[in-house]
């Protein structure tokens, strides 16, 4: 694990992200002005004039740093610090170090050690230690903590968030819907939706000889906290009652990777083994049903009724892999990948129902006690690269990716949401077959690049891809893609280009009924009339799932980088992508993304620069549907008056300005960054004459972030570091705003609000270098 050398708190820097933007813009903008670019980005040479001995020492000997300071956050800001842990109003410690020790560069001993730590005063702390003999071996340890805050305004009726057996208040009064839940409001208690990852790494590498390299890595990541989950009693599509609730998260993921590489100039080979073991400490989540019995339920209601979910099952993945490369000649190279993996999952099944009354009705037991799930994955890829001349090169790529699902296929007679007795009738819709899904993808790509002129490069690409998905709506899917680009990549003051591509996808007959008739008992599907093309249907016959539908994809991109004089640089990027699902009557029919990006940097000298950027993104999704009812399936699925169309539009506008400068011969560095990011998400549905529709509000987010930073090297080895940031965030979402826990009749929601905050943070720290 690599941590930045300068232990400036990344948590604080997250708001000062425009420093990053500034650097990126600057790097890009000046890419074509190399004379300026080099020393602007040097981390060295920023100190005032020194004697040559000092300079030589600074430039040739590694150094260490320690940063100590204090910061202050102006208000509680749960979302502001969602990934940094900078969430609680008050003082926090700024603490980090980077201690690096090794011999002189030209010494005989390559032994070194390095200890780094960052954000030690926050919940986003991380640390790493490495000890080794360069070129021989190295031993590494690492720790990384990552918080993730979602919501601090959620509420629940359950008394024990975090438990796997959620209980209602002792004085709870049940009812058939939320209107009658008279104790609901007084029972609500807040809980924070947040989880945290803590990862420990250990690694060892050994280089027994210059051509050999053994790398081993093991990581153990714990993830715990709370997320939210919808808990439903009743059968979906019939009589469900639901409550949104806290779901405990207590995961352990272990990974290991061992790889041995042999590399010499002509050929290289790497073989390895990768392992991932996932363990969920919680296998189930039970809850008391807050609702009383309703029509269709059997002994499922409050107070005795309860439900039980299966949480994420443990799984294991083992994979052997190999990669190789062979430089056949100076102009030809062959590389390839080969891997074989196996994913397994065999958690003990929960019973069909936790309700003992319903369990007593079971006459057809589970076909097995656990899934014995297994997916074998095989991957092979080959690439041949040829550069017959300095102006032309081409590549051929072959790729095979197979997921072979060997999970047993069985019949399950399920019980709908812990609410029904088991229905084992031959025509029962509760007789279901699991459908292990396999997939095989094969593709071949040819691409070539021709440097037609010193300043002009023309590239073309053709790709043919086939995806086979047995027993799914479309068993074969074929896509052809062609791309062409013209690029001026000379080192002059103007560079840029155009990229164009088209891709057409079609395939075998689309059989929308396939997974439906495979997943239900014939005794049930045979009762469903009318038939379309001889088969019953679940989804509308004209529906095409977009990942299997015919599609015409068109993409274009124009980009340019201009150096306007020696101090001004301009970057432009315009991109467009559209997917036309031209044979989809229902489902996603069209999507489009287009973006415009402009960067401008003015660097009048080596002691300062000013930048600005503006980015516009527009997302468009069109989809069509037809509202129909199962009870009138003979007519409504075919009634065009029940058609509807939804147009989704997401607009993202992001812009920023910033400046930085150095004073006092580099002793003082100051900078300011400002960014605005606004998003609007609109959904508009229009309907046929048999339906009604109304407009929806726009869901919005509005982020304003300002940061000011300064470093003052008031002594040779001591720098004072000042950071200040202000962030204002407001958001609206009609799905949660003004939707209290008892708003919906049959769902108790979290009653949360969209995040809205403004906060400032400041810190002063001192960095000592030695």
């Amino acid at each position: 694990m690599k941590i930045e050398r300068n232990p400036l708190s990344r948590a604080i820097r997250a708001h000062f992200a425009l420093q990053a933007i500034r650097a990126a813009v600057f790097a890009m903008a000046l890419a074509s002005v190399p004379a300026l670019a080099q020393d602007e980005f040097s981390l060295e040479g920023e100190e005032p004039a020194k004697d040559t001995a000092e300079l030589l020492e600074e430039q040739t000997q590694v150094s260490s740093t320690v940063e100590v300071g204090l910061g202050f956050l102006s208000d509680d800001a749960f979302r502001y610090g969602r990934y940094t842990g900078l969430t609680d109003e008050g003082v926090f410690a700024v603490l980090g170090f980077d201690i690096f020790k090794r011999g002189a560069w030209d010494g005989d001993d390559p032994t070194y050690w390095r200890a780094e730590a960052e954000n030690l005063g926050l919940d986003s702390r991380e640390a790493a230690f490495e000890y080794g003999r360069q070129g021989r071996w190295a031993f590494r340890l690492g720790f990384d903590q990552v918080p993730h805050n979602h919501l601090d305004t959620a509420t629940t009726i359950f008394t024990n968030p975090g438990s796997t057996s959620l209980t209602l208040p002792s004085n709870w009064v049940g009812a058939q819907n939320t209107a009658g839940l008279t104790r609901l409001a007084e029972s609500l208690r807040p809980f924070d939706v947040e989880h945290e990852r803590r990862r420990f790494d250990v690694g060892f590498e050994w280089i027994p000889a210059p051509k050999w390299h053994l790398e081993t890595a093991y990581s153990r990541e714990e993830k715990d906290g709370l997320k939210t989950i919808g808990l439903t009693i009743g059968n979906s599509g019939g009589n469900p009652r639901s409550v949104l609730a806290p779901e405990p998260v207590d995961y352990l993921t272990q990974t290991a990777d061992v790889a041995l590489t042999f590399a010499q100039p002509t050929y290289q080979l790497r073989i390895g083994y990768y392992m991932s073991l996932f363990d969920d400490e919680n296998s189930f989540l039970r809850w008391q049903n807050p609702y009383t019995n309703i029509t269709g339920w059997t002994s499922a209601g409050f107070p005795a009724g309860q439900g039980q979910m299966h949480l994420e099952p443990d799984n294991a993945f083992h994979q052997f892999y190999a990669s190789g490369g062979w430089s056949i000649s100076d102009t030809m190279r062959l590389t390839g990948d080969l891997s074989y993996g196996r994913a397994t999952q065999d958690d003990a099944f929960l019973p069909y129902t936790i309700n003992p009354v319903l369990a007593a009705s079971i006459t057809q037991p589970l076909p097995r006690l656990s899934l014995d799930g297994r997916v074998d994955s095989t991957y092979a890829a080959l690439r041949f690269s040829h550069r017959p001349s300095s102006t032309f090169y081409w590549n051929a790529n072959l790729r095979y990716d197979d997921r072979d699902n060997k999970t047993p296929h069985d019949e399950y007679v399920y019980i709908g949401g812990d609410s029904n007795t088991q229905n084992t009738a031959a025509n029962s819709s509760f007789r279901r077959f699991n459908e292990p899904k396999s997939q095989e993808e094969t593709s071949f790509r040819l691409d070539g690049t021709w440097r037609a002129l010193d300043w002009l490069r023309i590239a073309g690409e053709a790709q043919w891809k086939r995806i086979e998905r047995p027993h799914q709506e479309r068993e074969e899917l074929d896509e052809d893609r062609y791309a062409l680009s013209f690029t001026n990549n000379s080192a002059g003051l103007v560079s840029g280009g155009v990229r164009l591509s088209i891709a057409d996808r079609d395939g075998s007959e689309y059989r929308g009924y396939e997974t439906f008739i495979n997943g239900y008992a014939p005794g049930y599907t045979s009762t469903l009339l009318p038939l379309v093309d001889g088969f019953p249907f679940e989804n509308l016959p004209g529906m095409r799932k977009f990942n299997q539908a015919d599609r015409q994809r068109r993409q274009a991109e124009v980009f340019a980088s201009l150096a306007l004089g020696e101090t001004l640089a301009l970057g432009l990027n315009v991109n467009y992508s559209e997917d036309d699902y031209d044979n989809s009557e229902f489902g996603l029919t069209f999507s489009r993304v287009n973006g415009y990006n402009v960067d401008l940097t003015w660097a009048p000298g080596e002691d300062g620069s000013v930048y600005g950027f503006y980015s516009v993104e527009r997302y468009k999704n069109d989809q069509d549907g037809r509202s129909w009812a199962g009870a009138t399936r003979a007519t409504t699925p075919f009634d065009p008056n029940r058609n509807w169309t939804t147009r989704s539009r997401d607009d993202v506008d992001t812009w920023g300005l910033g400046a930085n400068a150095r004073f006092l011969e580099g002793k003082l560095k100051l900078g300011i960054d400002y960014v605005r990011a606004n998003t609007d998400a609109d959904v508009a549905t229009s309907v046929g004459p048999a339906l009604t529709a109304a407009p929806l509000p726009t869901a919005t987010t509005d982020l304003t972030s300002t940061s000011i930073y300064g470093d003052w090297a008031f002594r040779r080895n001591l720098t004072a570091r000042l950071r200040f940031a202000y962030e204002d965030y407001a958001s609206t979402d009609w799905a949660v705003d003004g939707v209290p826990a008892n708003q919906l009749a049959n769902v108790i929601t979290l009653g949360e609000d969209s995040p809205d905050y403004n906060v400032w943070v400041a810190s002063l720290s001192f960095v000592y270098r030695f």
Binding site: M1, E4, R5, A17, A20, A24, P34, Q38, F41, L43, G45, T60, R102, G107, D108, G135, D144, A179, A209, P210, G230, L244, T261, P265, F278, H310, E312, N315, G325, T335, D337, Q345, R383, D401, N434, P436, Q439, T449, R457, N489, A491, G519, N539, K545, N547, G587, S615, Y619, N621, Q623, G625, T679, A681, V687, A693, A694, P695, V739, Q743, N746
Partner: protein
């Protein structure tokens, strides 16, 4: 005794593979001719400092794999006799300059040593085809190469991939700005045989690195999950919760149009009304996931409809 046996066995095994123990090399260090001639001009007072390379791994003479254990500067920049002989502002550049304009020459020097491991598939990769130079991303002459720093790497990538910049500020995103996720956690910039230069064989395997809980296999699978996480999620950032491509219930209705509520036309008619309770339970709160919560797959025997 036992350890000695292991060592003996290991030595024999390595010898049988043609591997010999690393020889100890007399370090020439500052007396290396390939260094001395260069620092006559490129010394510690140089306007463009080059000596900080000695603080990097490349500068460690005691590691015989490094350029400074060989001919120092000359190992990478070539003998550059014309450059040495030249005078004034118009003197010829060194033989190898690692400039973007001649990426192939510079890259070939780097590949001399860095062609195994993660760089195996450089030839023919997207960046190779675009004539991106190693030095376009890496700065070998400074102690701290930003692109190797998880907290700063995205700054380098954004230099070309402008269209990803706005993603950093979207309301739902990975913690890239915070340095907890780096571009290279998912993409191999040196090339891979997977789509989009992913570090694993495909999208789902790449996502499972951090989201192993979604791997299954589950009893009741949700087909798109095993196909491509990108069918529903935008990994670079989104305006919708959980980085979804579009919000529910419409996202779900792009594939589901069964009778009754899966095919309903959802609109402002589903908003809360003047009285309570009111509103569409498939549209408010967590929309479809108010009930169908196990969208990544269910392992409950009664979870055929992803409600368990």
């Amino acid at each position: 005794m036992q350890l000695r046996s292991i060592h003996a066995w290991l030595a024999a095994a390595l010898l049988s593979l043609g591997v010999s123990a690393p020889p100890s090399r007399a370090a020439e260090g500052a007396d290396n001719p390939g260094y001395k001639s260069c620092v006559k001009c490129h010394d510690e007072t140089s306007e463009v400092p080059v000596l900080p390379i000695l603080k990097t791994k490349h500068g460690v003479v005691a590691d015989e794999r490094t350029p400074f254990a060989d001919q120092a500067c000359v190992t990478c920049h070539g003998a550059s006799q014309a450059h040495l002989d030249g005078e004034g502002d118009n003197k010829p550049a060194p033989d190898v300059t690692f400039k973007e304009a001649d990426a192939k020459t510079g890259n070939q020097v780097c590949l001399t040593c860095h062609q195994g491991g993660a760089q195996m598939h450089w030839a023919g990769s997207a960046h190779d085809n675009e004539s991106v130079s190693c030095s376009g991303c890496h700065d070998t002459h400074v102690a701290h190469d930003a692109v190797l720093d998880k907290g700063q790497q995205f700054e380098v990538c954004l230099g070309c991939h402008q269209e990803q910049r706005a993603d950093l500020f979207k309301p739902f995103r990975h913690p890239i700005r915070e340095g907890k996720v780096a571009c290279s956690d998912c993409h191999n910039p040196h090339g891979s045989t997977a789509p989009s230069q992913l570090v694993k064989n495909n999208t789902v395997e790449t996502c499972y690195q951090c989201h192993a809980d979604k791997r299954g296999p589950f009893l009741w699978e949700h087909q798109p999950v095993n196909d491509d996480c990108g069918h529903c999620h935008k990994p670079h950032g989104s305006v919708h919760v959980a980085m979804l491509n579009t919000r529910g219930p419409w996202l779900c209705e792009q594939c589901h149009s069964a009778g009754n509520h899966p095919s309903t036309a959802y609109s402002g008619t589903g908003l809360p009304g003047a009285t309570r309770p009111s509103g569409a339970q498939q549209m408010l709160g967590k929309n479809c996931m108010n009930c169908h919560t196990e969208v990544h797959g269910s392992n409950h025997p009664s979870g055929a409809r992803q409600t368990r």
